[in-house]
């Protein structure tokens, strides 16, 4: 097991990248702590898989280094890095039994057969595959196939990191949560570093201790699920995480205070937006409530989602959502919106622009 | 250039050598051919080609071949499309056996069946017509077409059909305006193989024709034997029979591999 360091990494699929736009991965420095459970979250095409393939060695980065502990592995092939990767579509060796699938990586490395046997049985036990060791792997369901992929990584007792590339894509909804909790359980049991790539926020937030959010080849925020929810560093994070996402409302800066639709809005701390920047207020619907005074708005529609109501309102020509308790006002009625100052922040050109942020 | 690319290069070289020799021969004069070995034509001549393009037996041979091959491709596709659809979408009594039976028709030794074919087509009055050859080639082309098309159609989700029917499409309209355009790559690949196997087959084509529908390849053998040893002319005719195939491959080059990969082969 090892700490993984990405040192001023950059990658482009072009031979001669000209501008920043030619890079699939923009410059990044990042450290994955030993034994952490990480999720790599972002929309399709944001560079998640590229980053994953650089760590596993399937891709060599255009610039920068990859370190496992202090060892530079940038130019090492995948089989020398002791990593495991579970792919989006289950990869198994169809002609082999489950047992031989699990034994394959060990046999390729010339491990003596008695050690192979012990190890395979141990891993099969952990993955609940013991009673199917002799069946042909091709006959199994996708969830078991994904377990085998995982197992092929786990059998090596020196595995540095296990990477999951959207592993639940082809799994039945009913099996999804089972496999997900299996992964989580494994992490607790053997404490190996895991990196889980997904575009599904629920998967990321339930699995990871630390979530790395990416957009356009750039890491926009790293933090615990609670950080991401309560204090998004970028409007993208606010919008991408949460349902509905954070309200991003264009605002004016007036003497260091933000005004929205002509109303001055209290914020958590002092905004520090550079002059000339595009400024926005970010507030989650959970922290918007109704009041006697506040920002005037008109209700567009209300959706009952069980214990709460999601309110869709227009403040002038800007849509604002709110999650409120109790009875919802009729569509078309005039209301006043109140923002909870402790959760109201100002963003400049997309990035959080506060002197001191309260988290 | 890696060492492994040597394998395809050598293979292609091996394929090209006899073709080169045929092309070289076709540009040589008869005197040069009979005079001895020469790697390149010493005197380039178009005489052999001139003979072919001025003699009606020759150029009608081309026209005949292309006519029945095209007709066969159209008939085979028209019949195979609905059948392949049925095999890929429905399960009906005896479907598996039917499929295997269709495939077994490739195994019949055509050499012996030639005579019964002659009798059959004479009896129905189709002897020496394009239609006779086109229909006879259906024997091995339709099973092939059904097989390739079925592979393509199985790759199209059933939801496409269901959505269309829910949207109120009648079956014929759905089939012609939605389904067929969806699998046009597959139809292209199939047409390529149909063209290929009909174009290269000679035995049945020769048996079922005499004058009006005689294929180019048959003209070749007869001319070669009757007019003595005219190698140059034979070579030129051979070169000309390769050209239609080469044109067809050029047009479907991007579909060949992709088509098979999409199909359930």
């Amino acid at each position: 097991m090892a700490k993984i360091t990405l040192d001023s990494l950059r990658h482009s699929y072009l031979d001669a990248p000209a501008g920043d736009d030619d890079f699939a991965l923009k410059r990044m420095d990042l450290e994955w702590k030993d034994g952490g459970a990480y999720a790599l979250l972002g929309p399709s095409g944001c560079g998640k898989t590229t980053l994953l393939n650089i760590i596993s060695g399937l891709l060599t980065p255009s610039e920068g280094r990859v370190l496992f502990d202090e060892r530079d592995v940038t130019d090492e092939p995948p089989d020398r890095r002791n990593i495991a990767q579970v792919f989006q579509f289950p990869v198994i060796y169809d002609t082999m039994s489950v047992y031989n699938n699990l034994a394959f990586p060990l046999r390729n490395r010339g491990v003596p057969e008695d050690q192979v046997d012990a190890r395979v049985r141990e891993i099969a036990e952990i993955l609940d595959l013991s009673n199917r060791l002799r069946t042909r792997a091709s006959g199994l369901g996708p969830d078991d196939k994904q377990k085998i992929s995982m197992g092929r990584g786990l059998v090596r007792n020196d595995v540095n990191v296990i990477m999951f590339d959207e592993p639940l894509t082809v799994i039945d909804p009913a099996q999804k949560w089972k496999l997900r909790s299996k992964v989580k359980e494994l992490h607790q049991k053997i404490g190996v570093t895991m990196i889980y790539v997904t575009h599904d926020q629920t998967e990321a937030l339930t699995f990871a201790d630390q979530v790395v959010v990416m957009q356009d080849g750039e890491i926009v925020q790293i933090g615990t699920p609670v950080d991401l929810f309560e204090c998004p560093r970028h409007t993208f994070v606010g919008h991408f995480i949460g349902s509905p996402g954070m309200n991003i409302l264009p605002c004016e800066m007036d003497g260091g205070r933000a005004t929205f639709q002509g109303v001055t809005v209290e914020t958590a701390g002092t905004p520090a937006a550079p002059a000339g920047a595009r400024t926005e207020i970010g507030i989650r619907p959970e922290f918007v409530s109704l009041g006697a005074t506040g920002i005037p708005a008109r209700v567009r529609k209300a959706a009952d989602i069980g214990r709460h109501t999601v309110l869709d309102a227009m403040a002038g020509d800007v849509p604002v959502s709110a999650i409120i308790d109790g009875a919802a006002p009729e569509p078309g009625s005039e209301i006043h919106l109140v923002f909870n100052p402790a959760h109201t922040r100002v963003y400049a050109d997309g990035w959080l622009a506060m002197q001191e942020s309260t988290t | 250039m890696k060492a492994r690319s040597l394998v395809p290069i050598l293979y292609i070289l091996f394929l090209m050598l006899p073709i080169y020799w045929l092309v070289a021969m076709s540009f040589k004069t008869t005197n040069e051919i009979l005079g001895g070995f020469s790697l390149f034509p010493q005197v380039w001549t178009l005489d052999n080609y001139r003979v072919i393009f001025t003699d009606p037996t020759w150029y009608w041979g081309y026209f005949n071949s292309i006519s029945y091959v095209t007709l066969n491709t159209v008939i085979s596709l028209a019949a195979a499309l609905p059948a392949a659809y049925a095999f890929s979408r429905y399960s009906f009594m005896g479907d598996k056996h039917l499929f295997f039976w269709l495939l077994t028709n490739r195994m019949a030794p055509v050499a012996v069946f030639a005579l019964p074919f002659f009798q059959l087509y004479s009896a129905v009055g189709l002897f020496d017509t394009y239609l006779a050859v086109a229909l006879a080639h259906c024997l091995f082309n339709i099973p092939l077409a059904v097989w390739i098309l079925e592979g393509f159609m199985s790759g199209i989700p059933k939801e496409l059909d269901e959505t269309a029917f829910v949207d109120g499409y009648s079956f014929p309209r759905f089939f012609t305006t939605i389904f067929v355009p969806t699998i046009k790559a597959g139809i292209g690949v199939t047409a390529f193989f149909l063209f290929m196997f009909s174009w290269v087959e000679l035995l049945l084509a020769k048996t079922l024709t005499a004058v009006y529908a005689k294929p180019i390849a048959a003209v070749m053998t007869r001319t070669a034997s009757s007019a003595g040893y005219e190698l140059g002319l034979l070579a030129a005719a051979g070169v000309l029979t390769i050209i239609p195939g080469a044109i067809v491959i050029y047009f479907v080059r991007n579909y060949i591999a992709k088509g098979f990969a999409l199909g359930r082969v």
Partner: protein, 286 residues
């Protein structure tokens, strides 16, 4: 899953009519011949299974069948591994892919008698490129019309030239359908090149190779035009394969009964081998 629908028959009907017209009528005619004796003048007499017994006992049939089996086995042993090897070494993407495919498909689109004629010209001892080269540069005494060995080798090389590309096309199609993830997983698992071939590429090519072998088996077992044009079955009977022999019997000697019996036996043989092979190869696909 597929819906149970007898409407399927309606869709299959045109195919059924066209193929049955071409397959059943001639087949029945052949069956008819095979059980009758004729002395010409369109007079036929019932002969029972006599022709079948005669054919099965005849030295000539055994010899032709032996040559046929040897030929088919040889070309399968050469063409299938060679085709797979070429498919494996072909580029996967880029400019050279269509170039390779077009050039490799070329032999498949040449009429069969032209293939025979082309190889005839190519191998003429005095003025053919190959014949001249072997006789005058390498110094082997090569003449197809005299040496059975030379004739055999030439027929086999011609078939390899003609048909290996079909195996290449099919195998290549199987190969490019393998997702990248398989190769990536194999890299991570430290699989050797051989292991990748044995456990990933070969299993994924199984279906296409089954079809390639079936097609090559059926077509080579029926081979007629190319060797007929090239060697005429000679020298002697050395390259007289089943179909050539059949035509000699049927049209040369006009012995329709024995020819029909012979072709039915050999049809049944092809059918049996194909069916066995197909059943074994698809056994574990439920």
């Amino acid at each position: 899953m597929k819906t149970q629908n007898q409407r399927g028959w309606l869709f299959v009907l045109p195919v059924l009519i066209l193929v049955a017209f071409n397959a059943l009528v001639p087949l029945m005619t052949v069956v008819n011949y095979s059980v009758q004796e004729t002395f010409g003048d369109n007079l036929f007499f019932w002969h029972g299974l006599g022709w079948f017994e005669d054919v099965l006992r005849s030295e000539r049939f055994h010899a032709a069948l032996g040559r046929q089996v040897l030929f088919t086995a040889t070309i399968l042993i050469i063409e299938v591994p060679l085709g797979v090897a070429i498919a494996l070494t072909m580029p996967r993407k880029g400019f050279w892919v269509p170039v390779c495919l077009v050039l490799m498909s070329l032999p498949l689109l040449i009429p069969w008698n032209v293939v025979g004629a082309m190889w005839n010209i190519f191998t003429l001892p005095d003025i053919g490129l190959l014949g001249y080269f072997l006789n005058n540069v390498v110094g082997i005494d090569y003449n197809m019309t005299q040496s059975p060995l030379a004739a055999w080798v030439t027929v086999i090389v011609m078939d390899v030239w003609h048909w290996t590309s079909l195996v290449v096309l099919l195998a290549y199609a199987g190969l490019i359908s393998i997702p990248d993830a398989y190769y990536q997983a194999a890299k991570i698992d430290a699989a050797s090149g051989w292991a990748v071939f044995r456990h990933i590429q070969l299993p994924k090519m199984k279906r296409v190779l089954t079809i390639a072998i079936l097609l090559r088996f059926m077509d080579s077992f029926n081979i007629y035009t190319e060797p007929f044009v090239l060697t005429g079955g000679g020298p002697g009977n050395s390259t007289t394969f089943l179909s050539i022999d059949l035509v000699k019997v049927a049209l040369g000697q006009f012995d329709l009964g024995p020819a029909a019996a012979m072709s039915l036996i050999y049809f049944a043989f092809t059918l049996l081998v194909s069916w066995l092979f197909y059943t074994i190869m698809t056994r574990d696909e439920q």
